[in-house]
Structures are given as C-alpha cells and as structure tokens.
Amino acid sequence: MQVVSLFNYVTFFLLDAVIDPVQLLAITLVFVCIIAGMLFFILLYLIRRTGRSMRRRSLREQYSNCISELAVCETNDELQSFLQQPETLTITALLQHDAFARRIIITELLKTVKNMSGNAAANVCWFYEQAGLQHDSLFRLQKGAWHVKARAIQELSGLRQNKYIAKIYRHTNNSNELVRNEARTAVIKLTGFEGLRFLDVATYPLTEWQQLCLLHELSLHSNRIFDGVQRWLQSPNSSVTEFALRLVEVYHLHACYPNVIDCLKHASKPVRKKAIAALKEIYTPSANEILVERFEYEDADVQILILQLLQEFATEAEQLFLLQQLTHQQQEVKVAAARTVYHTQPAAEQLIKQRVNADEYPWTVLLPQLKQEVAL
C-alpha cells in the first residue's frame, strides 16, 4: 500500500515539476497520430496484399484452363488454333504489359513441365517461347538479385531453353553458392554430360549436396561422355576431384584406374576416401599392394576403409599384413582387420587365436560375433 502511494506521489510530482499539462497533451496527440498513421499503412498494406492474392488466384485459375488445353494439343494445327482462341489472345495481350501476370504464368508453366513429359511438356515450352516469356527470365537473370537470378536459371532450364545455355554457363562459377548451384544443375539438365565442362574452370567448391544433385541429373541422360574425367581427377579444386571420383565409382570408368591410384596419395582426406570407394568399383588385383603400402600413412578412418575394401579382394599375399593389424592400437581398426580376416580366410578363427588372446576382452565378444556374421 505504501509502495503504491509513493509511486503516485513521485508521478504527480514529476508531472507538475517536469512536464507542463499542455505539453503532455501535445505529446499524447503526436503519439496518437503516429499510431493512427501506422494503422492506416497496415490497412493499406493488407488491402494491397489481399488484392494481389485474389488477383493471383484468379490469374492461376484462368491460366490453368489455358495450360491444360495447351497440354493436350496433339498436332501443329491444334496448337495454332489454340493460339487463335479468344481466351489465349486475351492472355497473351495481358502478358505484354503486366509483369505480375508474366511471373504467375511462368510459375504455372514451370510447375506443369515438372509434372508432365512428352508432347504436353513440349507444348508448354513452345508456348513459353511464343509468348516471349523467356525475355522476362533473361532480364531477371542479368539484372536480378541472387535469388532472382537463381529462379530465372530454374525457369530457363526447366522450360528447355537450350539456346541460352551460354548465358547460364557464365554463372556456373558465380560467387554466390545458390546461383552457381542452379547454373551447374541447369547446364547438366540442358546438355547432359557435355555440360560437365564447367568442371574445367570451377574454382568454387562443389558441396556434397551439389554433387548428389548433379549425379541425379546425369542419371536422366543417356549420352554418356567422359572425356574430361581424367583431367578432373587432377584438378587443383579438390571438390572437383571428389566429384570425378564419384563419376568413376558410379559409371565404372576403368580407364581412370591410374588416376584413381594417384588420388590415394592426395593431400585431401575426403579425396583419398572417395578414391578408395571408386577403387572398389574398378578394382584390379594390383591395387592390393598399393593399398597395403598406403595403410601406415593413413588415419584410422581411412585405414578402416582400406580394410573394408580388402574384405572383398584380399588374397593370400595380404594375410600377414591383416594379421599384424589385429594388434593395432586403435580398437576399431583391430575389429575391421579381424572382420576382413574372417571374410577372406577359411581358417580365420585359428589364425586369429594364434595372434591374440581369445580369452580376453574384446575378443571374447568379438570372435563369436564375427563367426555368426560370416555364417550369415
């Protein structure tokens, strides 16, 4: 109670002493005006936003009818008569001067091409060109911010504008990660394996995700050209080398074997790991000796990969090396070595028992487990 009365006393004292009641009224009025102004702008903004979203909805509805008719046209005559329809003429006339309408229809066309193939997709791409919408995308590719550029690249590649490949290609080494990723994916989408030539000049790294996206795009093309792979395996950009190793692995490029062997000595650990993975797919017996030689220079995780590879390919010549690894300092390496011995030696159990104390942990647990694993 005392605290409240003290607060009131201080407040009234300050009002009397510091602020004149007329001033207080003026300040109140200023704040009321600011709040009213803000509310007015919020209202204007909401009205504009609602208007735009209603217009977007109505344009989408109008375009969906038009695009579905376009998609089912089967002959040139049908396409020409589609262009002459009053509804199509109204749409194309609107597109000439309305940038918002152009953006909406491009989005709808792109969505359609993603869902349809064959004649339907070809018709949609044809209309994109007929309506001159590619100029809109090109303008945004040249002048836009990074996200506008990335979107424009998606549009041009999605709607199969092969003739603008050079303009897209320029962005494959763009300083912005998203723009260059889109451009790299786009050149593969448009030209298949030929598009990989951007790897010759790529100075920025290819992320793991980008590499997977490129491999996916490549899988949709059948004209397989691998002219540059040996060059990319020696690229100063280690992510390019990694990607080239992925190509060797996926497409079993045996001709690249010497370059893959060189990659086992690469300064970058991810490259060395990828080289081991690639080697599995293009294996030749001479690789064993090289892998055994490299083993002592590697970290435990790479050593485990080498042992896993030898699990499939080790011969009698590598058995001594494998048995020596049973006394490795790192537990994981020890286990990987034992697993490899089990997979490559019929008398593995006896050989391991000669080297280690089978009554001691972890062998007491590990040996029955490995035995069971091999039996499966």
Binding site: S64, V72, G118
Partner: protein, 120 residues
C-alpha cells in the same frame, strides 16, 4: 465409362480430365482424398486415377479402401512424383493396378486407361 480423377494440382487435374474427355470418357474430378472417397461411394466409378500426396486422405488410403475385401474391385491407377521402390511396392501391395511416376505424358496415361478399361 465413368472415371474418377483425384489430384490436388489444378493444372494436372484439368489436363487429365480434358485428355480423358477427348477419349470419350465420363470424368469426375476431385482435388482431395476425402472428397474422392465420398465420390467413390456416391458415383460408383468404373476406374480411379489418384495422386498419392493429397490433402485429408492420401492416394494409398483410397487404394486401400477400394481394394478392401468385400468391395467392388474398381481398377486404380496411382500417380505420384515418388518413384521410390518402397512406395511403388506399397501401392501394388494394396492392390493398385498400375503406377505412373511424374513427370508423365497424358498420352501415356490415356493408353494405360484404355488397357485397363478393357479389363474393367
């Protein structure tokens, strides 16, 4: 012959419907799974084309309902952007008669409908 098309993407829905009407079929269109189930009960279609990813009920739920024991065995074509083996296998396990992965050609769909229409 009456065909029910369930697809939530308006352009796809209209394109499929237009293509099938051109082929002379009577087409009913719905844009969500719940409405699809209602229309199956009310309209009793001879063939169903359904997308998998739809609001309220998925295409797989529709297949499961149509192919449940005791139901009239209406042929179902499943459309999907999901080409993963497990989804395709699940659709066929539920009793789907055909599976088309997007992107697809409306002409190809038309041919598959004709083939199934013969057996319906």
């Amino acid at each position: 012959m009456k065909i029910l098309v369930a697809e939530d993407e308006p352009i796809m829905l209209k394109t499929i419907a237009l293509r099938l009407r051109k082929d002379g079929y009577d087409v009913i269109t719905v844009d969500n799974g719940r409405e699809a189930i209602e229309q199956i009960d009310q309209q009793n279609p001879d063939l169903i084309i359904t997308d998998i990813m739809m609001p309220y009920s998925s295409g797989l739920e529709i297949v499961g309902k149509v192919k449940a024991p005791g139901q009239r065995n209406i042929p179902v074509i499943v459309l999907s952007a999901m080409g993963q083996e497990n989804v395709v296998v699940e659709a066929f396990n539920l009793g789907a008669d055909d599976y088309i992965t997007k992107p697809f050609s409306p002409n190809e769909l038309s041919m598959r409908v004709k083939r199934l229409a013969k057996t319906a």
